[in-house]
Structures are given as C-alpha cells and as structure tokens.
C-alpha cells in the first residue's frame, strides 16, 4: 500500500505541476458551465428544481467520461514514451501498486475537478429548492461513472505506446460500451438484457441522475473498474515476457 500511495502522490503532483491537468479541468468546467446555463437553466418555460438538477447531471456525465479519457491517457503511455517506466519496473514494487497508484491519482484529480463544479447545482437555491440527497447521489453517480471510464482509460494507456493512441483506444472502448445499449433496443430477450446490463451509461446512470441509488448500478461500476484494472495489471506483468 505504501508503494501505491507513493506512486499516487507523485502522479497527483505531476497533474498539479504540469499544464495538462489544469487545461482539462478548465475546459470541462467551462463547457459544463455553458451547458448548465443554456440547457439546464435556459429555455422559456418554468422547470422544477429536480429537472434542472437532473439535466445538470446528464450534461456532466458526458463531460466526466471525456475528462476521464483525457486524464488517463498519460498514466502509463507517457512513462513508456519517455522511458521513466523503468524507474518503476526496476524497483521492488508490484505491477498492482503501479496500476492502482496511477488510477488513484487520476481518480483524486477527477474528484477534485468534478466537485469544483458543485457551485452550479447550488445556484438552483437562488430561485428554487434543492434536495441535497439528490445532489449527493448525482455526484456519487458521476464519480462512479468517471471511475469506470478512468479504469478503462488506464487500460488503454497500459496498452498504448503514445498518449494519442491511448486516448483513441480508451475513447473507442468507452464509446463502444455506451452504444452497446443501442443493440439492446433492436434485439430480443434475453440478449437485449445482456446489452442493457453491459452498457456504461444507458441503464446504470439515469437512476443516479434522478437521485436514486440502485445497488445493481453501484456494483456494475465497481465491477467495470475492477475488471479494467485487473486486465491492466496483467498487461503490465506480461510486458516482462516480451
């Protein structure tokens, strides 16, 4: 655990010392702000606070997935690109420590970035009432969705030699896992249930968006994280054979 924390702390420092982390956070918050103003608050008709909040979490879910892909692309690919991975792989640390350390650092940064936008739902208090439970559940959903996308991104970064390729691989995996939901709409049972269950967003995020927690959805996101990180560790271990 010490090695995991050491690696996570160094990695988090790298996000804070370089421009990339700030640029991703600034772009995400800027776009989130525009969408919140135009789509969630905008329009002529009056809307319920809960509808505004739901719209906010809908917009944020897309952005948090995009941010996760961009934040994770550097995790392992950059180390391979500049050769610094040798420092980790020649030290007495396990591949598990490397992957978890990298993942936790990106997750902490993603959490800080996501929570930095909490002022937007709070603005609802100016003209309406706010369910803090709904806000908490929505943010839990965002962090679980973001964590799952980050874990997939970590896998993409482990597979690729360059950051660009890592972003392409991770983005493709995330998009495939989102659109697999569409296959469920054109297939019969029980196959469509499988597609719906696998989809990263379709069935699992909307309940969070509406302020409802289903254990099924929490388990799904944790399972995606576990699976993607497990494969990442195995891929890193397999490098010693090449």
């Amino acid at each position: 655990m010490t090695a995991t924390w050491l690696i996570a702390r160094r990695e988090l420092g790298a996000y804070l010392r370089t421009m990339s982390g700030y640029v991703i956070a600034a772009v995400v918050l800027f776009v989130d702000g525009i969408l919140f103003n135009v789509r969630a608050l905008g329009g002529q008709q009056d809307r319920l606070s809960t509808e505004v909040l739901s719209e906010f979490f809908f917009n944020s879910s897309g952005l948090v997935m995009a941010a996760a892909v961009f934040l994770s692309m550097r995790l392992l690919a950059e180390e391979r690109q500049n050769g610094s991975i040798v420092l980790l792989s020649s030290s007495p640390v396990r591949e598990r420590d490397i992957i978890l350390g990298k993942f936790f650092s990106a997750f902490i940064f993603l959490t800080l970035m996501t929570l930095a936008g909490v002022f937007m739902p709070m603005l609802i208090l100016v003209n309406g009432k706010l369910s803090f439970g709904h806000v908490a559940v929505g943010y839990l959903g965002l962090l679980l969705l973001g964590g799952a996308a980050l874990a997939i991104g970590t896998l993409g970064s482990t597979l690729a030699r360059s950051q660009l390729l890592a972003a392409i691989i991770s983005g493709s995996m995330v998009v495939c896992l989102i659109v697999v939901w569409m296959l469920g709409t054109v297939t019969e049972r029980p196959l469509n249930d499988v597609f719906f269950a696998l989809a990263l967003w379709g069935r699992h995020f909307p309940p969070f968006q509406a302020g409802i927690i289903h254990l099924r959805d929490v388990v799904y996101y944790l399972a995606v994280m576990y699976f993607a990180l497990f494969v990442s560790i195995r891929v890193l271990e397999a490098r010693r054979w090449r």
Partner: protein
C-alpha cells in the same frame, strides 16, 4: 554476486541472446562490450528483472530472477540507456521518490539523497527542475537514482552515451568513485573508458559470449600481448629500446616515432609493466613526458573478437 547459466532470450524466432554463461564476483567492476544489437541491453534487462528469459538461469546474490524479482530489484540499481526521469520534478524530490520506492525509510531518505547527490556532484542542483537540466546533469541524476538506496549491484547501460568529452571525464570519475561500494556491470561503446574503469570485460557478439577476462587476458589469448603501452620521452635516447626489452614481461619494445624533441616507444608486454617502465626510464635519466596504455589494443581485441569470434577465450 551474479551467476548466469545458459541464458537465452528469443523475440519470436530471433535469438537476442543464446546460451550465455558467465559469473561476476562481489565487488568486481565488469565491462560489457558488444556492437549494437549484440544483446547487451537484453542481458542487462534480464539481470535487472525487467525482462524474463526464454531459458537458462540467472542468480543475483543467490536469488533466481524469475522466482524472486521483487527481492532482487531491491538489491540492484539500474540505469538504462535513457535515464528514467520525470522532467517536471526537482532533482531532490525525484531522488527522494526513487529512494522511497526502493524501500528506504522516510526518515533516512533525506540523508541518502544528500549522499547520492554528493557522490554525483549534484548538491547545487537539488532544487532544480530536471526538465531544465543539461544532458550531462540528467545522466548524473540517472546515476544518482541508481545508487540512492546503496544497492549491492549496479547495472549501468551505456552511462556515457551522448556525453561530451568533458562530461565523459566527469562520469568516468563518478564511476571510479563507485568502486569498492558496489558490484558494477557497465555496458558501453567507449572502449578506452571501459578499459580504464573495469577489472574485467565480457564481450558479446550476436547474442553469444565471445570473450571474457581482463584486457590483458583477452589480448594474450588472441596473441596480441597482454598490455600495450606508449611512452614518450624528451630528446633522442639511444639504447633505450634494448633496455626496455630487458624488463622480464616485455615482449617487444620499438621506437615508433621520433621528432627532433621527443621519441615515442611502443611496448608490448605480458603483464602491466607501466611501473617498471617508468622506473627504468627515470633511472636512465630520461625526461618522461607520457606513459599510457595504447587505446588501439582494446579496439583491436574487440574488432578481432566480434569479427572472428572463435578466437576468444571462454
């Protein structure tokens, strides 16, 4: 310290190294020579537990690399050809991170970092950002990360690559400073540097060991004499060549070049006779201007071994 037995590594059908066997004793400084693609880096990466062999065994400090990679990694310091640096970190924070990764306790880390910085002449660079350092300083930071945890074995892959002549001299002095504290395995293309730094050489060609031993042993086995030295004295000295041949180990001593002011002798001997030669010349009243090993000797051994591998000792 290191025992390698019938080590092979295949990349698909291609053998990077084949049936490599050698041993390195504790405290030895060994040079690993070979042309590009000879299999040096592959061997070093297997010794550093970064790569698994296809067959054969490698023991470091009695531990098998495939069975105990994490224990072995704690006992080695590895400097790859491209130093593994994080450009956004300062030298001090990077070395602290490297020390902590190698299980140096937190309260001991500052002391170890200071020691490594002292040895690699990085004291003044402690707070500097690595990305802003010159190539020579980066190479030193790479060396500092390899020694910060005081490993028993140091594996240095091309530590002199890309350095200018002044930096090479500095790095050579740094490597000399490591003698005695660590067992060192250095791969390099700089033959003269290797010959000055190492006790013993391993020559690898096309993935096979084609020669091992000291420079003298390799030269003897190739019939080239153990030691070739060049001597320069002031003025013209009649009869000196004959007196040099009188030194027991000297096989040949000939006047190679003479100018109006100086005379150069080339001496081939079965052992290192530099001290005897110096004594003789000073005793004979000659002004000794230069006495050094002939660099071309190792180059010639190397070229012979890599072009005619059958001639080398095993």
């Amino acid at each position: 310290m290191i025992e390698v037995d019938k080590l092979s590594k295949y990349y698909g059908e291609r053998a990077a190294i084949r049936d490599l066997s050698f041993a390195i004793a504790k405290g030895e400084v060994v040079g690993f020579l070979g042309l590009n693609g000879a299999g040096k880096t592959t061997t070093l990466r297997i010794l550093g537990c970064l790569l698994l062999p296809t067959s054969g065994t490698v023991r470091v400090d009695g531990l098998e690399v495939t069975q105990n990679p994490y224990e072995i990694r704690g006992r080695i310091g590895f400097l790859p050809d491209l130093p593994p640096l994080y450009p956004e970190m300062t030298v001090g924070s990077y070395l602290t991170f490297a020390a902590r990764l190698r299980q140096v306790p937190a309260r001991e880390a500052p002391g170890r970092v200071a020691e490594a910085e002292e040895k690699t002449a990085l004291r003044d660079m402690h707070g500097e950002v690595i990305g802003e350092l010159s190539h020579g300083y980066r190479q030193r930071v790479g060396l500092a990360q390899a020694i910060v945890h005081k490993p028993a074995l140091l594996i240095l892959d091309e530590p002199l690559a890309g350095l200018d002549p002044a930096q090479i001299v500095e790095m050579r002095n740094l490597l000399h400073g490591l003698r005695g504290e660590h067992t060192v395995l250095i791969s390099s293309h700089f033959l003269s540097e290797i010959s000055q730094t190492c006790d013993r050489l391993l020559v690898i060609h096309n993935g096979e060991l084609v020669g091992q031993g000291s420079e003298g042993e390799l030269a003897s086995a190739m019939g080239q004499g153990a030691s070739a030295i060049e001597v320069e004295i002031r003025g013209q000295a009649a009869g000196i060549a004959e007196r040099l041949v009188g030194i027991p180990a000297v096989r040949k001593a000939k006047e190679r070049a003479t100018t109006e002011d100086t005379t150069v002798f080339e001496i081939v001997a079965s052992t290192d006779v530099r001290a005897d030669v110096a004594r003789l010349l000073v005793g004979a009243g000659c002004d000794l201007l230069r006495l050094e090993r002939s660099e071309s000797r190792l180059e010639s051994i190397f070229m012979n071994l890599t072009q005619n591998p059958a001639g080398g000792p095993q």
